[in-house]
Amino acid sequence: MSKSIQQIQEEIIDEFSMFDDWMQRYEYMIELGKSLPLIDEKYKIEENLIKGCQSKVWVHAELNGEKLEFTADSDAIITKGIVAILIRAFSGHHPSDILEADTQFIDEIGLKEHLSPTRANGLVSMIKQLKMYAIAYQTQLK
């Protein structure tokens, strides 16, 4: 049995609770941003691009059986780190589970400011985009 979105989010909260201050949290995110190959180069195309003004985010979605899988990337490394966390939580689940999930865990790990609609880093639009894909594929599965 694979983990639910809720379980993964709790895991992430647990991991972040080990950090004492923002600097450690950011260093961890930067590591995440650097290490993960998040998207196939061929999907880094205009149609998958979310223009965030400050940083760019690319998102690609693919249905694998009944599971919706996301890959994504960003040109800014801190944004990419958060993208990695979001992908880890949201990718590989049934579209209806993705639709029900929220991003409260981002607040709990002290990264709330990055999901502010006024931040213009593309992350808020990215989450909207993940949900849009989930709606589209949910319809397809029915």
């Binding site: 923002w22 600097m23 950011y26 260093e27 930067i30 003004c53 400050q54 940083s55 760019k56 040109d75 800014a76 490394i77 801190i78 944004t79 213009a120 880093n121």
Partner: protein, 412 residues
């Protein structure tokens, strides 16, 4: 350049006491505010004027028979005179209150729609803010006029000979900024205005970034239009000035219809009010206008010579320190520039650097600075921009340098 003695007379500690916001802490660190090119901070003297207006004489202007209205009108018109004097306009009615630089540019662009015909040419500089590009593109689209661009060089300066080549009998309008917001380059507007006038072209200068550092004399410049925003020069947001030569303001049609801007109205015909009211439809930002005047008084009391000399010292100090950092690339290295440094490090994303600086209490701007053509020229997504004001200190620059090194280490 001022002498060292003049700089010594300037006490930044004393000036800082006027700005309550500078005592703030951000994320547990003392605020270091280096985003002055976006908006400047407000001294207590101006905050007091704003509070005084709403506490004591808030009223609508120009039409009241009562005492408060008279008082507000007097103060508002007094501010207009203060602005006139500061920019050395010949007449007070050549000063139009606007909501800011963007409003001023749009007012002129809209007015020129009725003066241009197909095939006329308008020239813009490559160093412009989007607000000084888009209104002219709309104008060109509307009228069939052709938009031409003065190119820039690697140093971030306009290529003057190229401008001369663009000029012709078809040129009707030239518009450029006095100082580039993204790079801080001071443009040779005197030369450009003189040359443009040989072809009877009108020149609009966007002074938004220059006004906090340079006292422009519109008569000496012989400029046709000069626009600024109060909030970049210690005043409040939502108010600015359009200076226009009387002959041009008389030629342009009104921008907006409404109260205040009319002489007589019947359903058959309306005749417009005289300058400046023709362009000031509706209830203006009365308090803002008065506070704008107070901000100019404040800055003149500090003294523009002292401000310029001190800011140049800050610019040199910060530039020198930044260049000691390995991988540092500074964009805009014109000899003539204001206290603005636009930079990147080793291909690191400006957003990442800005995010870490913010965590350390340092406010800078990151991104394309609403000047995408400049970023395209350098083939970069954006820059980190630190812009200094006369209330900043070398100690703040030291903290900033330390933070930049920290960000670089974290992101490397």
């Amino acid at each position: 350049m001022s002498t060292a003695t003049e700089v010594l007379e300037y006490s930044v500690e004393k000036v800082r006491e006027d700005f309550p916001i500078l005592k703030r802490e951000i994320n547990g660190y003392p605020l270091v505010y280096f985003d002055n090119a976006a908006t400047s901070q407000t001294p207590q003297q101006v905050i007091d004027v704003i509070a005084d207006y709403y506490s004591n004489y808030n009223a609508n202007i120009h039409r009241g028979v009562h005492a408060l209205s008279q008082e507000a009108t007097d103060k508002y018109e007094h501010a207009r005179h203060t602005i006139q004097k500061h920019f050395n306009a010949e007449k007070a009615h050549e000063i139009i209150f606007t909501s800011g630089t963007t409003h001023g540019i749009n007012l002129v662009a809209n007015g020129f729609a009725s003066l241009l015909k197909k095939g006329d040419e308008i020239i813009v500089s490559a160093l412009e803010h989007h607000s000084n590009i888009v209104p002219w593109q709309i104008l060109a689209e509307k009228t069939g006029a052709i938009l031409k661009v003065i190119p820039m060089n690697q140093e971030g300066e306009l290529i003057y000979p190229a401008f001369e080549e663009l000029l012709s009998e078809k040129t009707k309008l030239v518009f450029l900024n006095h100082v580039s917001n993204a790079l801080g380059t001071v443009n040779p507007i005197e030369k450009i205005i003189t040359k443009a006038h040989e072809y009877d072209a009108a020149v609009l200068v966007d002074g938004a970034q220059a006004a906090p550092h340079i006292k422009a004399d519109v008569q000496a410049l012989d400029v046709d239009f000069y626009v600024v925003s109060a909030h970049k020069m210690c005043g409040p947001t939502g108010v600015g000035m359009l200076y226009g030569k009387e002959k041009w303001l008389n030629k342009l049609p009104p921008y907006q219809g409404g109260g205040e801007m009319i002489a007589t109205v019947t359903f058959e015909e309306t005749t417009y009010a005289d300058l400046p009211h023709k362009f000031e439809a509706g209830t203006p930002n009365i308090c803002g206008g008065i506070a704008f005047g107070a901000a100019l008084d404040y800055m003149n009391t500090v003294g523009f010579d002292k401000i310029a000399a001190y800011e140049e010292e800050l610019l040199h100090y910060a530039t020198k320190k930044l260049l000691e950092i390995d991988g540092m690339e500074i964009y805009g290295v014109s000899k003539e520039k204001t206290a603005v440094i636009s930079f990147n490090i080793n291909g690191m994303h400006p957003y990442d650097i800005g995010t870490i600086l913010d965590k350390l209490g340092i406010a800078v701007r990151t991104g394309h600075h609403c000047a995408q053509p400049i970023m395209d020229f350098y083939k970069i997504p954006g820059t980190v921009r630190a812009s200094f004001s006369f209330y900043n200190t070398k100690e703040e620059i030291d903290a900033f340098i330390k933070a930049v090194i920290k960000a670089k280490t974290m992101l490397a």
